[in-house]
Amino acid sequence: MARTGVFICHCGTNIGGTVDVSKVLEAAKSMPTVAYVDDNTYSCSEPGQASIHDAIIENRLDRVVIGCCSPRMHENTFRKTVATAGINPYLLEISNIREHCSWVHGDDKEAATDKAIELVRMAVAKVASLEPLFSRQVGLTKRALVIGGGIAGIQAALDIANADYEVVLVEREPSIGGRMAQLDKTFPTLDCSACILAPKMVDVAQHPNITLLTYAEVQDVKGFVGNFEVNILQKARKVDHIKCTGCGTCWQKCLERTPSEFNLEMGKRSAIYIPFPQAVPLKPVIDTEHCAHFKYLEAKEEGRDLPDCNICQQLCPVSAIDYEQEDQIISERFGAIIVATGYQTFDHSVYHEYGSGRYADVITGLHLERLLSASGPTGGEVIRPSDGLLPKTVVFVSCVGSRDEQKGRAYCSKVCCMYMAKQAIMLKEHDPEVQCYIFYIDIRAGGKDFEEFARRAQEEYGTLYLRGRISKIYQEGKKLIVCGEDSLIGRPVEIAADLVVLATGMEPSIGAAELAQRLKISYDTNNFFIEAHPKLRPVETNTDGIFLAGSCIGPRDIPESVAQGGAAAAKVAALFSQDVLTTDPMVATIDPMLCSGCLLCTQVCPFNAIDTQVTRDGRTIALVNETMCKGCGLCVASCRFGAADLRGFTQQQILAQVTSLWR
């Protein structure tokens, strides 16, 4: 006969303030197999865990139910606790009486107490039917994959490589550098962005432990922590990566001109191109859509006649141009994956009041970065895109695609307040005659030296901050009339501006949701990836071995992205410091006596984890490969004969929970 101990946590007043714990304990006493009941102020604290440990030994308990927070929070904590007292860690059941009871029924204490009693009863019923489970050990591949070559991914790759593990860094653009490479200066120190980023990019390219795959994308991911199998699509660069020396002859001589994505289409680039002068690797790709040679080939196929061009191939001193090069799939094994896919800026064309992108001189903050940058399309001269004149009156509009529920973007993008202040300062530095106005809702300057910086923009650089939203922007002659309200004085304001800068917010990079689906990690309604715990596990996901860094989780500034890249790298290094990993024993089983050999389970299993075996009497039946099985239980519900079952969630255990209800 099992001897179950029931421990109810007050969680301070989180549970105890709503649920009458003494009533729950009293009810638990009479539940079947319960031999001991007790409560703790905080079960997860050291004294709490010690008292559970001692009670197990003193009362010879062999199973434990803890009524506390979600098992997603502390199941592992308490598994370790019971293990130290000599109980198999899987003879523990958590009854979630906080997230699923006290916190959601605070308005009805009596009902919450009754529900808590029933939740505990279900757990007691389940724990009695649990069986001891034992982990197995598997090896791991000590090589990491970093997806995304922005500053977060770069930092993560460098830190793992410096810990002496191999890293593959995958970036879908032709160069690493990410958004930070597009910025002119960084707040609040006004460091030149490219100057502090470029050395790190070069370090990545030169590090013996890092393999850099640019113009490449992760196509599919299989496997589990320590043993991921990843297919990476290397898009054809049409340039032999090994032969190319990056001399620049090809992109200087190319005759085609097409808008530069890196400069947000404000400048032109050639068809064979590097996105920006400091690109890493410094090796071009051919944009086949705009290259005259490929246009010629396409026309030829359709029976049209276009002039051919192969200047780049003719002039390349090392014969690196390879028009025949095809896309390639690279299959590699990895032990861990860091996702650092970053952000893109919000598309402001949904804001009709700001002109929906109609006015050339209504630009975004990122456009202004490119105009301010010495390596930008204008060589660092800020001019109006419409007529090339120097703007003297510049109006900034904050929270475009941030803090706006009507546009489906309720969150704050965090960096805009600061980059507006920075850009106002930079504009004044470029041209002292410029007057900047910033329409804001709140000034959010909650970082180190941020507030001081925002004040400098106002006090030293004469930027005028006006609190209020913009109702309309329209063109009148050469001016843009910005109509808004100064809500501090309660009066409408109209400013005739030469240039309007929309502080567009951050949203996850295009394709974030699809990548999450391939990796099987969670993402929220805005497509930002979800951390395992927002406070305590900020760079982990709920999938072991997959980590996150930077603004793919939510809006982040540069120091935060760098810190998270380093944090994720530390997690990977800690994982790789082990020589074997223990697997989760909660996997499927097949009862050979019940299995008919229909093998339906092999068809439904998403992980190919079911093999076959031949029994001594010659029947072919299913056999679970425990290393491959992830414990989803799909085979269990599919088995018509009840031969398949899932350890930790067996049919009997779930039925025990159901049949304990409403007794």
Partner: protein, 142 residues
């Protein structure tokens, strides 16, 4: 009737999305009716139709199944199997005398605490309207 009718609901929630979503309702302190009893399973694909029938047999007035949104399954495709399997279960439940409104399948993600609370509230309301279930099944003992 002396005792006021309180609908009894069993909820089978997948661990990765809906159970986490119900946790988020908790951390966000979004109140919903206390009638539901949640059973955690790894995946909605784990839910054997027998468990649903057993829950009704045990006296449940409603059974709610919640899993990841299609396309977002932690195990890639478990919820697709669940969707088809549970669609087939529905006419069977009607056949044995359980109104189809008493059985719900919902997709609730790990961030949708608010949606979880709305789902439970609306299901509970509906079960209040339907009233207690006529016991067409003998109450089992497990």
């Amino acid at each position: 009737m002396a005792i006021e009718y309180q609908p009894k609901i069993v909820g089978f929630l997948c661990n990765w999305c809906s159970y986490a979503g119900a946790d988020v309702a908790g951390t966000s302190r979004i109140c919903y009716p206390p009638n539901i009893r949640i059973i955690r399973v790894p995946c909605s694909g784990r839910i054997d139709p027998l468990l649903v029938v057993k829950s009704f047999q045990q006296g449940a007035d409603g059974v709610l199944i919640a899993g990841c949104h299609p396309g977002d399954c932690h195990y890639t495709e478990g919820n697709y199997y669940a969707r088809r399997r549970l669609a087939l279960l529905r006419p069977f439940l009607e056949y044995i005398g359980i109104e189809k409104e008493r059985f719900r399948v919902e997709w609730v993600s790990a961030s949708e605490g608010k949606k979880w609370a709305q789902v439970v509230s609306s299901f509970t309301d509906e079960l209040y309207k339907l009233g207690p279930r006529e016991m067409t099944l003998a109450k089992g003992t497990g």
